[in-house]
Each structure stands twice: as structure tokens, then as C-alpha cells.
Symmetry: C2
Subunit: 299 residues, 2 copies
């Protein structure tokens, strides 16, 4: 839970609410309650945002508030293609002290989503969870591969599903071919691997199976910030709601996550996520169905 | 119909048989006979290749043979990502004299595939066809947009389906967003637009409808030369076989074309295309079905 200041080819914001955990929680809250949040913020994080979260069934007992420090702040500027961006400012602030303690009330959680963070902290969270959750999903990024690869590899062995983008999958595996990269990563701990390709969709790998989910061809992507986290929140939220972690249901969960992410990018910050209804989500899921449906008789 | 010399990260060939029309014809011949070829070659084009074509129902009456000149020759080197390549040699040779005459026996053809070539020549071919074919499909490339845009725009007005890749769609329309680019191109003549995205699949646009066909995630792409032409040949071949140019059937045709293209890239040149059976094609089509199938109940 943090602040972002974002510039895209279409506009620019001052400091607004952001952060992986914010997007994940809002997305998941469409499907399951409670969502038990673990995060850290400073004195400056808006009380209204936390009230809004609580109204949506997001519990904040695991969110530490540091009274004399500021929340994490990131500022970035997207390039015209919206797939690449420059970081302008990273103020770690409270994140320097982040040493998450899982509240007793959270024990027994069955579905865990580890947002992108230091793999050492991700591991500490897993180790505190008793009993071991039914499904642990982990996000990470190239930054941790650059500076903490051994620690990342250790944490990887403890998770069920890994989320990375295509270049991160290549970096993690040392393989250029995405299929070879996926096969290798599936020997490193996770039983399921989701490779996100932005506007080109996402691939889900498990054993020898593969599923491809397209991205909706959108006329305009206004702000991609948080789209990956929203996808993850929708994905885990759907699995938790249905309490089914089969490959078949993960395919559905990816479509659900993609539908939510397609709304996220329509406005700056998590605002659009807070406006949409269940009917809006269903409408977009139907667009995915229509987008890839074809008929053919073989033989 | 031409010669290529190709270098990829996986290997290298001497001069081998290639050319858009070669790939298109071999691919289409899996679905429909006769395929009536129009092309130009020199004294050096192998008689065995032409015999093989005839065996597959490809008529060569429209293929001019210039006895004292060489066939078109292209040589190129692919980069590691296989999406970009450097042209090393382009010897136009017989192509300098290409002034296609449609044989009387070809008149009445219902499905026409115009391979990538000077738009002026593409237009001359269309103008010779009486009556106007049921469906005219056109391929083109950035090269013609750079040097013959007015002529290209004229030819565009005469065709039903345009095939381009994503950067060409942007160049042709002046729009960065693929969806906006597609909408604009659909006002320029073609009623259907296929945007090829290589390893990221292909999009079909028509009126307000859109269909997305993924590419199969392949472990290795050995040589992408001819994949686009093979796709086009499979696409048109399927439409001709089924004699159905509805949007619904075009979606199927795109999957069929993608299945053929996925074989094409497994070996240098058109060799792999000549080996495969109807069962192989069906097998790969089934992989496309499995790749994108998911189940969800809305509401």
C-alpha cells in the first residue's frame, strides 16, 4: 500500500494511492471476503482509503502504520508503447522497516498472494503461516533476480504458482524460448507458472499443459500501473471463491483476472476498480469468450 | 517463386527454393485443387520443384520462365528473437520484367491471393480477372508503404481482405493503437483486416467484430521464412474449400492457416510443408482448440 505519481502519453497524476497490495485486495474483494491484508504504511496514507477497504471486506489488522514516517512512494513515466517505463523516483520510506507479522486471526488462510517484494520477506511470511496454505501464489520481478537470486530461488521452492513477465521468465531460466524457460522454471519449485505478456496476453504452464489467455484489444490503455497486481488479485480471488485449484479452474481464473485488469488500465490508480459492478466483470468475461471462440470440425 | 539463402541462430542454408507464391501454393493445395499459380522464374528454377507442384494440383500455366535470366534471390539473417532480420542480398533478376498475364484458363477463379509485391502489379492482376473474384486477399509490407503509398492506397480499394503485421498496420493508418489502426484501415477498402503479430498470434477485424488467434507456443522456431505466406495460403485454401466467406468461417480459416504456419517454421524452406499429412494438420488444429479453451458460467 503506497503512493504513485504517474505520467503516461495520455496524462499525468500527482501523488495518488497505489501499491501492489492495494490493487490485489480490491480485485480479490470482488470474489471473496474477508481479504486479509498484510502491508506497511506511513502517517500519510489516507484514512478514507482504509475505510473504503474495510467496507469491501478487506481486513487491515496486518497493516502496520508507522506514525513518524511516510508511505512508500514511486514515480514513473510510461513510454508511448506502454510496455516500458522509466522510474523517476523510488522513496522506500516505511518499506525499509517492513518486517511483517502475520496476525493470529489470519492463521488458517487458505489462499495467499505474495506481492512483488524482497524474496527474503516473502519467505518470512510463508514461514509464519500455520498450517501451510492450500495455495501460495508469488509475484516477483527482474530487480530481485539482479540482486537476490539465491534468496529468490529459495523462496521459489516454497510456492505453488509463480507470476512473471516474459523477459523475467527468460532471465530466471537462462532460456530464450518461452516454452523452454517455462519447463525449466517448473523444475524450480512452482507447479504452475503464469507468464504475463502485457498487451499480448498471458500463458499458464502446468506439467505438459499450456493455456493461452489473450488480452482484450483495447482502443486505449490509459494507465497500466497496477494491471499485473489486479490480474493477480482477480486470479487468486476467483480460486478462493470457487475453492478449486485444478488446472481447468486456473484457466478460468486467468480470464477473470484479465477481465479485471482490463478495467484497471482505463483510469489512473485503483479508481476504476472501485466503480465496476459484477455485471461489468461478466460483460468483459463474455468479450474474452467471443474474442477466442471459433468452430471447426476435424476429421 | 524464388530462391532464398537463410541464416538463423540455429543454422544456415545455401540457396534453397522459396518465394511467397511457393509457400502460398503448397499450403493452399492441402485444401483445394487446382491452385492456379501466377509467377515468374528464371532458367535456374528446378524442374523437380515444378513437377512436385503439379503433382499437388498446382497449375503452372501462369508461371513465366525467362530462359536467359536468373530467378529472384533473397538472402537474410534472423536475429535471436526471430522477429527481426537483416536482408543481406536482394537480386531482383526476373522480377524486373514481371508483367503478369492471367491465362484464359484461370478466368473465373473465385479466390485470389495477391502475394506481397509492387501494388501496381497487384492492381494489374485484379484488373485482368473477369468476372471479379468472390474474394481478393492481399498481402503487402512496409517497403511499399515507404515508396509507393499512393499506388498502395489505390490497390487497397479493390481488395476484400488485407494482411499486414502490427507495425505495418500502424504505418498504414498513422495510428499507434492497434484497435484504432484497424478501424481506420477498414475505411480504406478492405472489409476484413488480419493483423499478424508473429509469436503473439493474429487478430481479425471486421466491422465492429474482432477475433484473436494465438500462435502455438513452440519450443523452437527453426526458420520463420515463409510462415506468413503459408498462413495466407492455408487461410485462402480453407475459404476456397468451404466456399464460405462469413466472419465465422474466416475465424476458422485463421486457425487453419496458423496450424500450417506452425509446421512451416520447423525446417528451412517449404520442405516441412510437403511432408505433413491431413492428420498432422488436424492434430495441430486440436492443439489450438486446447490452448484457448476455458469454461466459465456467468451470472
Amino acid at each position: 500500500m503506497a503512493f504513485d505519481a504517474i505520467e503516461t502519453p495520455f496524462g499525468k497524476t500527482d501523488k495518488i494511492v497505489g501499491g501492489s497490495a492495494t490493487y490485489v485486495a480490491y480485485a480479490a474483494s470482488y470474489f471473496v471476503k474477508p481479504v486479509q491484508q498484510v502491508s506497511i504504511v506511513g502517517y500519510d496514507f489516507p484514512q478514507e482509503e482504509m475505510d473504503e477497504m474495510k467496507r469491501r471486506g478487506i481486513q487491515l489488522e496486518g497493516v502496520e502504520i508507522i506514525p513518524d514516517k511516510k508511505s512508500f512512494f514511486w514515480s514513473g513515466k510510461y513510454h508511448l508503447d506502454m510496455n516500458s517505463r522509466d522510474t523517476l523516483v523510488t522513496d522506500l520510506n516505511v518499506l525499509l522497516d517492513f518486517n511483517p507479522k502475520i496476525p493470529a486471526a489470519y492463521q488458517g488462510a487458505e489462499f495467499v498472494m505474495l506481492g512483488n517484494l524482497d524474496p527474503v520477506i516473502q519467505k518470512q511470511v510463508i514461514e509464519q503461516l500455520k498450517p501451510r496454505p492450500k495455495l501460495i501464489v508469488m509475484d516477483t520481478m527482474n530487480f530481485w533476480m539482479d540482486i537476490k537470486m539465491p534468496e529468490l530461488l529459495e523462496t521459489l521452492q516454497m510456492v505453488d504458482v509463480l507470476l512473471v513477465n516474459d523477459s523475467e521468465a527468460r532471465q530466471l531460466s537462462g532460456e530464450f524460448s518461452i516454452v523452454k524457460a517455462a519447463k525449466k522454471i517448473l523444475t524450480m519449485g512452482p507447479k504452475y507458472l503464469i507468464i504475463k505478456k502485457g498487451e499480448h496476453g498471458a500463458l499458464l504452464f502446468h506439467k505438459n499443459e499450456v493455456f493461452f489467455a489473450p488480452a482484450l484489444p483495447l482502443e486505449e490503455v490509459f494507465d497500466p500501473t497496477g494491471a499485473g497486481d489486479t490480474f493477480a488479485g482477480g486470479f487468486v480471488g476467483w480460486l478462493a471463491k470457487t475453492n478449486d485449484i485444478s488446472f481447468t479452474n486456473m484457466k478460468t481464473a486467468i480470464i477473470v483476472g484479465s477481465a479485471l485488469a482490463s478495467y484497471c488500465v482505463e483510469k489512473f490508480g485503483p479508481d476504476r476498480l472501485k466503480e465496476i459492478s459484477k455485471a461489468d466483470i461478466d460483460k468483459r468475461i463474455q468479450e474474452f469468450v467471443d474474442l477466442v471462440s471459433f468452430e471447426i470440425e476435424l476429421g
